[in-house]
């Protein structure tokens, strides 16, 4: 079992979840409330990572972040190293790759909040931001939590993008999924299966809890009254 790789995966997943919470909520709020004619195009862009192979995303990221691109050069002059083959580069890739896993549940949750409650709050003189924090968020907390958990679990299992832009550096970009890939190639099946089992169990538990949370009908739960 590769502890360094598992820890790195956790670190990557935690930061990705945090960033997508901050970035994803405004996007989701706009998607849930906007009446713009071309909104469906934005929805399509948000959903792209669901259908694009990681190689496509990885390829464009390498081009966009590499030492030959203005963005890559700007980052290099700031941080002193290139974005690909670094934790920051992986983080950026993960944020893009897990975007729909955060934004879609967020949007569904925010859209599910009764519009009348929001307008009532406005009529009582509460500002839009205050209303969002005190009315909308508490009412959609289950969906937001689901989005966060899905983002976390999805990032934990990322492979293709990491392989393309990570460079497999121990402690910096060697995530759990890459460590499994390496262990299999090194014919070290024992180590591969231990790390794989950790990911399998963790993913199952997280998903079971998430779907349990979303379950509406607890009435069918056997009770002893």
């Amino acid at each position: 079992m590769d502890h360094a790789a598992l820890l790195l995966s956790l670190r990557l997943a935690a930061w990705t979840t945090l960033i997508l919470l901050v970035v994803g909520l405004p996007i989701a709020w706009w998607l849930a409330t906007s009446r713009w004619r071309w909104k469906f195009l934005v929805e399509a862009v948000v959903a792209l990572p669901l259908v694009l192979p990681p190689t496509v995303l990885g390829f464009y990221l390498l081009l966009a972040l590499g030492p030959r691109s203005p963005l890559g050069q700007a980052f290099e002059s700031l941080a002193g190293h290139t974005l690909p083959f670094s934790f920051e580069g992986l983080l950026l890739a993960s944020v893009l790759y897990s975007l729909p896993f955060a934004v879609q549940p967020f949007t569904a949750a925010l859209a599910g909040v009764d519009r009348r409650l929001i307008e009532a709050s406005w009529c009582l003189g509460v500002s839009r931001f205050q209303t969002f924090v005190r009315v909308v968020l508490p009412l959609s907390v289950t969906g937001i939590l689901s989005g966060m958990v899905l983002t976390f679990a999805h990032t934990l299992g990322e492979f293709g993008v990491v392989l393309m832009v990570g460079g497999n550096l121990e402690g910096r970009t060697r995530t759990a999924s890459i460590a499994i890939y390496d262990a299999v190639q090194a014919l070290d099946y024992a180590s591969a299966s231990r790390t794989a089992l950790v990911l399998l169990v963790f993913s199952f538990v997280v998903l079971a809890l998430t779907y349990g949370l979303q379950r509406r009908v607890w009435a069918s739960w056997p009770t002893r009254s």
Partner: protein, 271 residues
């Protein structure tokens, strides 16, 4: 009841995410600025030999943090050209470090060096009906060789050597539709070792590795059947600790390294 279950579930989710957060955010970011670091990009055929070499090297340099990544030499060339932070590159084909030297990425004071000559074998798993020892490359014509694994000739030197040997021994036409390509030579070996492929053309160094020894039979391809695989390396200009990189290279090229590489089935430069 309902509220209790829901509350318990919500608490569970929060607990897991929080635990992940704590573990994740608290995980120490490794400081690449630490004194005495060495990051090596090495061709996959070195996996077992270099692991053994580094175990000794680390023991003699307890203060140094030495990390190694194995992969396809061609991919490393692309990654290093794009700024991947490696200090030393050990390629399965000396042409790659030479290309990096042309791009000005190699330490000018330290020329590209040769460290080994690679050899290839046709390998089949223990229970295989293919008689590689007596038939050699011809065994691959048998219908029992439904899937034959070689490394990807596009970016793996061992793949190019395998392809050249298949062509020069006149078997390529007959088997080209049955080839499966490994991403690098270690993955290729894994394909045959696991029985997913019926036969494979892999590095002798991997056939002799503890994990593969006794699991199969092999026939060494004559050296004249494919272009000589001069394996070379370089110390990169961006090396964090050039002194340590030089020491690593000198020991690899010295008697200790040569003996070890010889034991793992490499011919040595100058032999």
């Amino acid at each position: 009841m309902k509220a209790i279950v829901k509350g318990a579930l919500a608490a569970g989710v929060l607990l897991i995410v929080a635990a992940g957060f704590m573990a994740g955010l608290r995980a120490p970011a490794p400081s690449p600025e630490r004194k005495q670091t060495l990051t090596i990009a090495a061709a996959s055929d070195l996996k077992f030999a270099l692991d053994e070499f580094l175990a000794e090297f680390r023991a003699r340099h307890p203060d140094a943090s030495i990390q190694v990544t194995y992969g396809s030499s061609g991919n490393f060339l692309a990654q290093i050209s794009n700024g991947a932070p490696f200090d030393v590159f050990l390629s399965a084909d000396v042409a790659y470090p030479r290309k990096l030297a042309e791009q000005g990425l190699v330490d000018e004071k330290e020329p590209v060096f040769l460290y080994a000559v690679g050899r290839i074998v046709v390998w089949v798993p223990e229970g295989s009906p293919l008689a590689v020892e007596s038939l050699g490359m011809e065994a691959l014509r048998e219908p029992a060789a439904r899937r034959i694994a070689i490394a990807n000739p596009q970016h793996a030197p061992y793949g190019r050597a395998a392809e050249a040997a298949l062509k020069s021994l006149g078997v390529h036409e007959a088997v080209k539709d049955r080839l499966v390509l490994g991403e690098n030579i270690a993955q290729t070996a894994q394909f045959v070792q696991s029985g997913s492929a019926d036969a494979g053309i892999i590095a002798l160094a991997l056939a002799l590795a503890p994990a593969m020894k006794g699991q199969g039979r092999y026939w060494e391809v004559p050296l004249e059947a494919y272009p000589r695989m001069e394996q070379g390396g370089a110390i990169l200009k961006r090396a964090a600790d050039p002194e340590l990189a030089r020491r690593f290279r000198d020991e690899l090229l010295g008697p200790r390294g040569r003996a070890l590489l010889g034991r793992y089935g490499f011919s040595l430069p100058g032999e």
